[in-house]
């Protein structure tokens, strides 16, 4: 006998469960933490001792009952100040999806933490308080998530009870989000009218909005395709070389995590940045030799000519490989406290390669309100702008929208080792 609890969780069989990474964003007080708490609670992901701990925590603060928002704030400073400072990861396992939920902070000063959650997300879960409408902070966060390449935007139109479940107001917010997403790339937008506080349309279908015929929030998450299939890249497979080892029989094995598309034995490939052509003679997953493999598996391969390979090389299809160059025009999200200026030099990490780079030009700064590029001489903390780099070594980089692995870099402070910026190859896709 399978109980209701086990049926709502994954049960014992993991066949058909796919991993979906989502970044939850929203303005302060729009109910994001309450929504995540509600989702976990109603999907039977919270246990009795976790609920009891919440009740105790709320009693200490003079509140009664269970305030579900406290399910997500982890640090003492966050509970004391009632704000989310850093990303908190929460997990839910249903019969169809393993959800990795990055609960992102709402304040501008924590943009680096928000980017941490958004950079790996397939989907942005955007929480909007309908009684306040779409706020500037929410627009900014959604735009940031879109810049970081989320392919799906799921809008949780929250506190619908405060506007008597008014369909017109719901449709207006859904339309605004559609327009916003249309300005930046081509993500799919879906909106669901909910009340996180009362649990309407989160996991349980609500009778409050008979005009709404779409999925509940959890159903929408379960129906979102994940990027673990081969559709991630537009330019075929890419294999950044993580390590190279020579075995006792003299064969050279290359280990790395596959991205971009399917790799097959016998494929004609090119080793970048040198450009030497060869073929794949064998490949294996972590468990067994295979005739072909899909992203995002860690694999090992052998090549007909495995000489002179090193960590930091990239293996790509011989036809249509990524462009190779030292000059890179990029979109930079700058986190460091000092401003970014022309002439500065940093360490740069791209795939498995660490090199150096110099800022050649700051072309423009992105105004997050108008989503227009404006002239700028420097980028300040949490600014996004278009920056031209000259690297010490050539890299094989795809435009970011084509491949998030080979199209991304980080900037490292050579003195403090701090991560100063997230860098995406190419200029933002603005319409």
């Amino acid at each position: 006998m399978v109980s209701a609890v086990a049926a709502r969780r994954a049960g014992t069989d993991s066949t058909g469960v796919a991993l979906l990474r989502l970044a939850a964003v929203g303005a302060v007080d729009d109910g994001k933490s309450t929504l995540i708490g509600r989702l976990l609670h109603d999907a039977d992901q919270l246990t009795e001792d976790q609920l009891a701990a919440l009740e105790t925590a709320n009693r200490v603060r003079g509140q009664s009952g269970v305030n579900l928002s406290f399910a997500t704030d982890g640090l003492r400073a966050e509970r004391e100040r009632g704000v989310t400072i850093d990303v908190a990861y929460r997990y839910a396992v249903t019969p169809r999806r393993k959800l990795v939920i990055a609960d992102c902070p709402g304040h501008l000063e924590y943009t680096g933490n928000m980017a941490t959650g958004a950079s790996t997300a397939d989907l942005a879960l955007v929480v909007v308080d309908i009684s306040k409408g779409l706020r500037e902070q929410t627009r900014r966060h959604t735009a940031l998530a879109l810049l970081f390449g989320v392919r799906h935007v799921l809008v949780a139109v929250n506190k619908m009870d405060l506007v008597d479940w008014n369909e017109g107001r719901f449709l207006a917010v859904a339309e605004q989000m559609q327009v916003l997403a249309g300005l930046l790339g081509n993500a799919q937008v879906q909106a669901v009218p909910i009340s996180a506080l009362h649990g309407d349309n989160v996991v349980e279908r609500s009778g409050m909005a008979p005009w709404y015929r779409g999925p509940t929030l959890l159903e929408a998450l379960e129906e979102t395709p994940t990027s673990t299939v081969a559709t991630e890249g537009a330019g075929g497979f890419r294999l950044p070389v993580q390590s190279v080892s020579t075995r006792s029989d003299g064969s050279v094995h290359i280990a790395g995590m596959l991205t971009g598309g399917q790799l097959r034995g016998g494929d004609a490939v090119v080793v970048l940045p040198e450009g030497r052509r060869t073929t794949v003679t064998s490949l294996a997953t972590l468990s067994a030799p295979v005739p072909s493999a899909l992203p995002p598996l860690s694999i090992s391969v052998t090549l007909a000519d495995g000489s002179r390979l090193t960590r930091g090389n990239l293996i790509a299809p011989a036809i249509d490989p990524p462009p190779v160059g030292r000059d890179q025009l990029t979109t930079v999200c700058w986190f460091a406290e000092c401003p970014l200026e022309v002439g500065q030099r940093f360490l740069i990490k791209h795939t498995t390669k660490v090199t150096r780079g110099e800022v050649v030009a700051i072309e423009s700064r992105l105004d997050m309100k108008s989503l227009r590029l404006t002239a700028a001489a420097q980028l300040r903390t949490n600014d996004i702008g278009v920056v031209r780099w000259r690297l010490a070594d050539p890299i094989a980089a795809d435009p970011y929208p084509h491949n998030r692995v080979t199209g991304s870099l980080i900037v490292i402070d050579p003195e403090t080792n701090a991560t100063m910026a997230a860098v995406m190859v190419g200029t933002p896709t603005l319409r």
């Binding site: 991993l19 400073a77 680096g112």
Partner: protein, 310 residues
């Protein structure tokens, strides 16, 4: 099961989620092995560290694991766990270093909390000393973000200062899969490849890989006492004090740590299938059921991590 191959037809099937978690964890370990000078892998013989060791084995096969294993030994062990630890070490030909909390006490580095009292908190001293003695710049551990709300905030590569302290307000942004292993002199990284795994993921992976575990993870008859809401095994460190009464029950362990404060749970799950079915039904969290160390306050894990705890 969602294995990635070998495929019967020409087209491979989409990787299952366990494949994705496994591939990511292996990627993290390979990055750390490449970028750090002297990593170590924390291995206690518990199930999470057993999974970690299995991943390290697969990451570097057919070669040896290119770093030593480190066990911070509180001295309060379940014998089954130590046997398992030593068996795995000999199977892999691994280099195991054991850091004894008892040594820290005898050297006056840590205060003995007294007979039968938990040594959980002072093991941070032993760990920090071992890291410093071994000049390790990265310590790979099996902690998971679903275990605790402070853990839920920590990066996969987490910088610790020269006192092993975690400073949550100074975490580096961690973007895409671009993990960078550079640290300053005296600093080191704590690396958590299992960050995104949950308890049931760990068990499903153990089933998929057909992994051996210490027998105490499966149901067995054991003499226990009820204390602080937990079932503690009667041992040389835990004896009943009246009105406590020892009783024989069918139990198993969901986590294995310091034997003085790791509770057993009542169970009749003798096989891995039964364990997975039991967890799918469970209404109590893993640490809530079994760990006395997390019950002190809302912030007990955060406080211990700030002191250098894993």
């Amino acid at each position: 099961m969602a294995h990635s191959g070998p495929a019967s037809g020409l087209e491979p099937t989409a990787p299952g989620y366990l494949d994705v978690l496994e591939s990511h964890a292996v990627f993290v370990m390979r990055e750390v092995a490449a970028e750090c000078q002297r990593p170590a892998l924390l291995f206690s013989g518990g199930k999470d560290s057993a999974v970690l060791l299995r991943l390290a084995e697969k990451a570097f096969q057919p070669g040896p694991i290119p770093f030593p294993l480190l066990h911070v030994d509180t001295g309060h062990n379940f014998p089954e766990t130590l046997e398992f630890r030593d068996l795995r070490v000999s199977q892999l030909g691994a280099d195991l270093r054991v850091a004894l909390v008892q040594d820290s006490i005898e050297q006056g580095r840590a205060e003995d909390p007294g007979p039968g009292q938990s040594r959980n908190r002072i093991q941070s001293v032993t760990l920090t000393d071992a890291i410093s003695r071994g000049s390790f710049d990265a310590c790979i551990g099996g902690a998971r973000r679903d275990e605790d709300k402070a853990r839920a905030k920590e990066r996969i590569l987490s910088v610790r200062d020269e006192h092993s302290r975690w400073q949550p307000d100074r975490q580096r942004p961690e973007l895409w899969n671009l993990y960078h292993g550079r640290v300053g002199i005296g600093e080191h990284l704590r690396v958590f490849p299992l960050s995104d795994w949950t308890e049931i993921d760990v068990w499903r992976y153990i089933r998929r890989e057909d992994m051996a575990l210490p027998s105490i993870y499966y149901a067995h008859q054991r003499q226990v006492i009820q204390r602080d809401g937990m079932l503690l095994a009667v041992s040389e460190w835990v004896t009943p004090t009246p009105p406590e009464a020892a009783q024989w029950l069918s139990v198993r362990y969901r986590t294995v740590g310091d034997a003085t404060l790791t509770g057993a749970v009542r169970s009749h799950a003798y096989t891995i299938e039964q364990v997975i079915a039991e967890i799918a039904e469970s209404r109590v969290s893993e640490r809530g059921a079994t760990r006395g160390d997390d019950k002190f306050s809302e912030s007990s894990m955060e406080d211990r991590k700030r002191e250098g705890y894993f």
